[in-house]
Symmetry: none
Subunit: 464 residues, 2 copies
């Protein structure tokens, strides 16, 4: 029978601990394909936990296809070819790799690991129930193409109060994730345009541009962010001025003005401001968005709730300049908004009632103290490291001065069960732009403070 | 020295009031570029506030690049030109023409008007509540790219039982609407391919293809559906074999085999089977999908729950052939599924518990009796009309033999407060394919039987 010791002190719910354990056993082959799992009741008795916990774990395994249920017979481990698909994913895509590989590491310092424990699930569930009874059959009507007005109004107020951006709800388009919005936006701008992206940067952006079959070109960064001199033969540039990923640079106002001046030079030029992570500024107040300086309506503002709320909520939005919003209305309005009205109403009510603001505040405190814990532990330790990009966002850079190369650092960390990525992995055209040496990207949002403490102890040994 | 009166009653923190004030002075040019700011201590004394407040304001200005700090020398205004951006034009919304127009008519016979009254909202709400309490925090996890396994399993069983299609849940990709799935599918097939579409047909399909910037070509229909002889220079054809929109043709098996034979002739050829409305066959049993005859894995099957459940539920799915599903996994798996896990779990449970089957059965009865009501009322009336495409789907064609042209029929109907569309409106290249004369498209799902009765009385007068 599956035997497993729960960590009662962990913030990870018990069902999830059990789910992770069984998934690990299946992935490693300890539980073989076709094998029958114990019944929920038996396993609950055996582990002295409630049936609901076992059920939660089994349901997740079912949902992910690791096991299958046979009526009146029980739960069986799925045949290998299903999991074989998972293995293919490991080879081919980084984010999938993250998800699967990360289960084999005890400590996951990649930036995709996020903290969901602080999400106010009970408030959210309450608002869902309220939406259900208040909106009733209205939930069956299709959403306006741009998204439900109530939500766009809340977003426009949020942008005014927190990002210094004054836009009408009418300029906002709600969509299911940034990739979706990019695929709406690109035909509006024109697929014949040259799209620039930051290098280093999110590999995902580069992939989305490639999938949309547009010409794209990488642009380097200096200590103030994007190098505007490299923009000459580019029409549209995707930037993260609030907090560059992964360098953590906050673009100063001079560079912002320079970037806008570049955009103003031609009608066909646009700046796509990806304001991801802007909620997580730990020192001082958030820096207003580039969009707030945009006098000539050249900035397309893009942000998402997926990162600040929960990964299952694929709700993103963009603010389109007048020229594009009119084109959007004429050409794309026959589309329906892909986000269900139910989630849109719930989120609007969450924002209206201050839940979003409180959640961000709470998240900021949690993440700030995790960040402090990491920096303090490293500083106290024998590791000689230099940090950058520590004031904002959910990751930082750490240059380790122990004469190990980046690859050696990552490998040594892996040898003590710690997953992290080298900075060079985020360079899309490594030959064009020089990567700082011996630097790793640290995402700390997914770890508990105690785990951070333990992990640094291990790193100290590994990096000796 | 900077002089400024704080608003003690304001909810804005003092440091932020000061920051805003200084920023305004810099932006307006009252404090000039290069000018030295007072030291923190001096300004604090002058304004009778704490040094911490001044520090907060200066740090924010520093972070945004409005000022710079020079060691042992002080704070200086950075050289930059910034202008105010407070008053921006607010765009007025032009709502979708269709939705506004339809509000001016008492009776709406367009096909976009659908019946939501039979949707089992209370069962759905109950399942939503169950999902909420059963899945709990699991709802916060991101959905696998292809969609939640539980839902894909239900879809695969539905396809087996109702459409004669045997596919593994692993070949199914869940997405938010057909447009979304098309935009995922097209790059997999290749944007260099020539895409064919039925003419007449859904204008939406043609638009989606155009938006994806692929070469496309219209293909005509005869009484058996798509004319295969027109497919020679086409790679991928979008068809609605179960029930052509708007002609209502059900493609007979000979034509289906001919279409598959065409597809089998080249590796790069595919058929996109859009199986929309296939649930609503009133006479006899449903005709198996084209996909069920597809021995060489050349058919991409596409269907949606939006029409059969509720317009707000943007849940569609496609079945990809092996060649494409592998490509999908390698290239697109870093995408997240845009449909929230909450809706996916709820729909899976709705299907598992037989709710979907019962709902379709009920809808069929309701729509069948609406169809009968319309046909009977017309037959009893003085209107001399011929129907076609009445056995399936939620619309039919009506040719009116009163020597009025199509345009005159539509206009006369409008004069008595009735909205309907002429068949010619669905011809994308009207010169290439000949449209039957004096024919209107009747969508009856959105009207009550009494309304149908009243509307026909009005039509009788209008078409005299």
């Amino acid at each position: 029978m599956i035997t497993f010791i729960f960590d009662n002190k962990s913030a990870i719910p018990m069902y999830e601990q059990l789910y992770r354990f069984i998934k690990g056993e299946i992935s490693s082959g300890s539980i073989k394909s076709g094998e029958k799992l114990p019944s929920k009741r038996k396993l609950a008795e055996h582990l002295n936990i409630s049936i609901v916990t076992v059920e939660g774990a089994y349901n997740q395994l079912l949902a992910e296809g690791y096991i299958r249920s046979e009526p009146r017979s029980g739960y069986f481990v799925s045949p290998v070819e299903i999991r074989h698909n998972d293995n293919k994913n490991i080879v081919s895509t980084k984010s999938a790799e993250n998800r699967v590989i990360s289960n084999f590491y005890k400590y996951n310092f990649t930036t995709s690991s996020a903290s969901a424990e602080s999400f106010p699930f009970s408030l959210w569930a309450k608002l869902m129930r309220e939406t259900l009874s208040e909106k009733e059959r209205m939930l069956l009507l299709s959403s306006p193409a741009q998204g439900v007005y109530e939500l766009r109004k809340e977003i426009s107020e949020y942008l005014m109060n927190y990002r210094g951006v004054s836009v009408s709800p009418d300029s906002i388009v709600v969509g299911a994730g940034s990739e979706y919005l990019m695929s709406i936006m690109i035909p509006l701008i024109g697929r014949d345009k040259v799209f620039g992206y930051e290098d280093p940067g999110y590999p995902r952006i580069h992939k989305v541009l490639e999938r949309n079959d547009v010409k794209c070109k990488s642009v380097g960064l200096d200590e103030h962010g994007l190098i505007c001199e490299e923009l000459d033969d580019i029409d549209v540039i995707h930037v993260t001025p609030s907090h560059h990923f992964p360098l953590g640079v906050v673009m100063p106002v001079q560079r912002r003005m320079k970037l806008l001046a570049w955009a103003n030079k031609s009608d066909s030029r646009y700046v796509i401001e990806d304001d991801y992570d802007s909620e997580f500024r730990f020192t001082g107040k958030p820096i207003p968005a580039l969009k707030s300086l945009d006098e000539h309506d050249k900035v397309i503002y893009l942000n998402t709730f997926t990162r600040s709320l929960a990964p299952s909520l694929r709700i993103s939005y963009m603010v389109l300049p007048d020229s594009l919003i009119n084109k959007y209305r004429n050409e794309t309005n026959y589309f329906s908004c892909p986000v269900p009205t139910f989630e849109q109403f719930t989120l609007a009510s969450f924002m209206r009632k201050g839940g979003f603001e409180r959640h961000i505040g709470r998240m900021k405190n949690i993440c700030k103290s995790k960040r402090d814990a990491f920096v303090n532990e490293i500083t106290k330790s024998s590791i000689n490291a230099t940090f950058s990009g520590v004031n904002d966002g959910l990751h930082m850079l750490m240059q380790v001065n122990n004469s190990m190369t980046e690859k050696e650092l990552v490998k040594a960390a892996a040898s003590v069960n710690i997953l992290m990525r080298g900075l060079s992995e985020y360079y899309i055209e490594p030959h064009a732009h020089k990567c700082p040496e011996s630097t790793v990207v640290i995402g700390y949002a997914g770890l508990e403070e105690q785990e951070i403490h333990d992990a640094v102890k291990l790193l100290e040994k590994a990096w000796k």
